[in-house]
Amino acid sequence: MSPASANPDAGRPPSGAGGGRRHSALARYVAKRLVIAVGLLFGMTLVTFCLTNLVPGDPVAAALGQRAADDPEIVARFRTEYGLDRSLPAQYLAYLGRLIRFDLGTSWQTHHAVAADLAKAVPATMEIAFGAIVGAALIGITFGAWSAYRRGLATDQVLRLVSLIGISLPTFWTAIVCFYVFYYRLGWAPGSGRLTPGVAAPPNVTGMYTVDALLAGEWRTFVDASAHLALPTLVLTLYTIGLLTRFSRTSILEVLDQDYVRAAKAKGLPGRVVFFRYVLRGAAVPVLTVVGLAFGSLLSGTVLVESVFGWPGLGSYAYQAASKLDLLAVMGVGLVVGLVYLCVNLAVDLAYGFIDPRVRVGR
């Protein structure tokens, strides 16, 4: 503490960090996040590996069928081919060794390289997941903010009920009901799959048909792909809206009780300005965290939604791999899911740095 004087703090220059220090603090922050991320990814492959190995199911029987599994010679050949005759730690190490070369092994169900399978499945899922998270974030945060702004009033009550119903909907059921109503009854939506049979897939660039169709200038394909996207995206959005409305309402209510909001009101700023400038800015960090979390739960939803709409995405692939105990494919899914989780978290963390000046100086 500085020695007592009439005004000990007035002459001191602001204690903020200089530009250089600020920069390195941000770099250190990012580096730390990356190290944690890699550790987590490693852990996730280990968890998937243990789960698929330390359980009673017999992958050989699942992969070959019961009749082939009764033939010891076929089983032995299969085990040698996929390295299953080695000890578990050796198998895991071998997996990691191949992983460094981006080789995820071969699926014994599709007989394709797992990496190639995933390269097809992941863009298909991302196509619905991106749309759903953007739509749900826009609507959910608006609802949550509106609900918090009108706390306790009729609008709030209605929005709370709507969001409660939203999170209570069984996704697989919503999917079937939407399919029945919009496809079977109304005929507004096309059937299942990513394209109408007969429409050729656009040349592969991103793997997302809508984007690829636009890139190739194939307008008809784009319309067809978009139409197929609409229903699965809608179903996923419905689920996520409820979640985001509830979470953002809570976060915003917490900010409404902050001192700085009362101080802003005492400055005579109109309620609208206080809300948009002070409250929403204060709620940005928690709300952003929640959008990241919602993306995770949205990936859960894709498994159920894809199975209803026959969407050949990550969820369907994971389901087929899991039910056939296709070990390498399951590992691949675990890896991708982990990567997505880490990317989302990293994006959220980095965004903090831009939203909240305190993070930038390493607090």
Partner: protein, 321 residues
């Protein structure tokens, strides 16, 4: 017309599930231009609510009666959005903790200018000019660069000076300062108190200074009102209240200052319990004053008022500043 702020028989109750809970009971105060009216009392006595009610920020579901006059204009007749023309423009307010009352994600410049532009309708450049003047006035150095910084880059005392600059940026006639030094270090306290005093003298401000700390009070206030359970029990010139308190509760408060009669404070500390029993605002405001000496000893109403966090020395220093 009386210049400054006058509160006339202000009562406030909160409607809850159990009916009305009285919070303020016929509070009357007057703050003239160039004058600091102190308002002291234990936590939960209703000091803060009095301040907030003046600018129409009383808690939800509060029922208010009485009159509040600002330069002869009846504020109670103003409702809804029109109150925004009073808040920040004609009555500024400073809060206890500048760490929480400044928005962490907005620059000092943004927080200094948004209400100026709204109230005075000036351009961004002119608002920045005024912000600069306001910062100079409260003694925060650094020029334009300062306006681009965020609150966390300043020390606690500087932050409170910035908060004062924000409150005074539109040059209001009245400043309500709610425990403005409580969250600050003792040495920094003295500086902020001296600043408030000098602003009162140079700008002719009327200040309603709310605190639980009689030491701080004696350093800054011209007149001192003592509040207890939503009622003003004594109000008078500083010298008179401090040297010849008329009300038993005031005597009790003064006696509890460390270095006064001694004994009581340490006993309360030893007991390790809240000497008030609780900061319960629902206590019966019509209840009798603790004139009984035994009662006074049973509830040594000192701890909160003396300020647990500050030392006796700090208070003496503050008093000299």
């Amino acid at each position: 017309m009386t210049p400054g702020l006058r509160i006339d028989s202000l009562s406030l109750s909160i409607r809850g599930e159990d009916g009305l809970t009285p919070i303020l009971d016929r509070v009357s105060l007057q703050v003239g231009r160039g004058e600091v009216q102190g308002l002291a009392g234990e936590s939960g006595s209703g000091k803060t609510i009095t301040g907030l009610t003046v600018i129409g920020l009383e808690p939800p579901r509060a029922e208010v009666t009485g009159r509040i006059w600002l330069d002869g204009e009846d504020l109670m007749a103003i409702t809804g959005r029109s109150l925004n023309a009073i808040r920040g423009r004609r009555v500024g307010m400073v809060f206890q903790d500048p760490t929480t009352s400044l928005h962490p994600q907005l620059t000092v410049g943004a927080q200094l200018t948004d209400h100026v532009r709204y109230h005075l309708g000036v351009s961004r450049a002119e608002a920045l000019e005024r912000a600069q003047t306001a910062l100079d006035r409260v003694g925060v150095a650094g020029g334009r660069e300062t306006l681009r910084r965020y609150p966390h880059e300043f020390s606690g005392g500087q932050r409170q000076r910035i908060a004062i600059a924000i409150a005074l940026a539109c040059e209001p006639a009245v400043l309500i300062a709610d425990e403005p030094t409580t969250a600050l270090d003792v040495t920094v306290q003295a500086g902020v108190l001296a600043l408030i005093r000098s602003l009162v003298d140079s700008l002719g401000l009327a200040v309603l200074f709310i605190t639980h700390d009689l030491g701080v009070m004696s350093a800054v206030a011209d007149r001192v009102a003592i509040m207890r359970r939503g009622r003003i029990v004594e109000n008078g010139e500083r010298a008179q209240v401090f040297t010849a308190p008329a009300h038993p509760y005031t005597r009790e408060l003064l006696a509890s200052l460390p270095g006064a009669t001694g004994g009581l404070r340490s006993r309360a500390d030893l007991a390790g319990i809240d000497p008030f029993g609780s900061g319960d605002p629902t206590g019966d405001p019509t209840g009798d004053r603790p004139a009984d000496a035994a009662l006074v000893r049973d509830r040594p109403a000192d701890d909160d008022l003396a300020g647990r966090e500050s030392t006796g020395d700090g208070r003496e220093e503050a008093a000299d500043a």
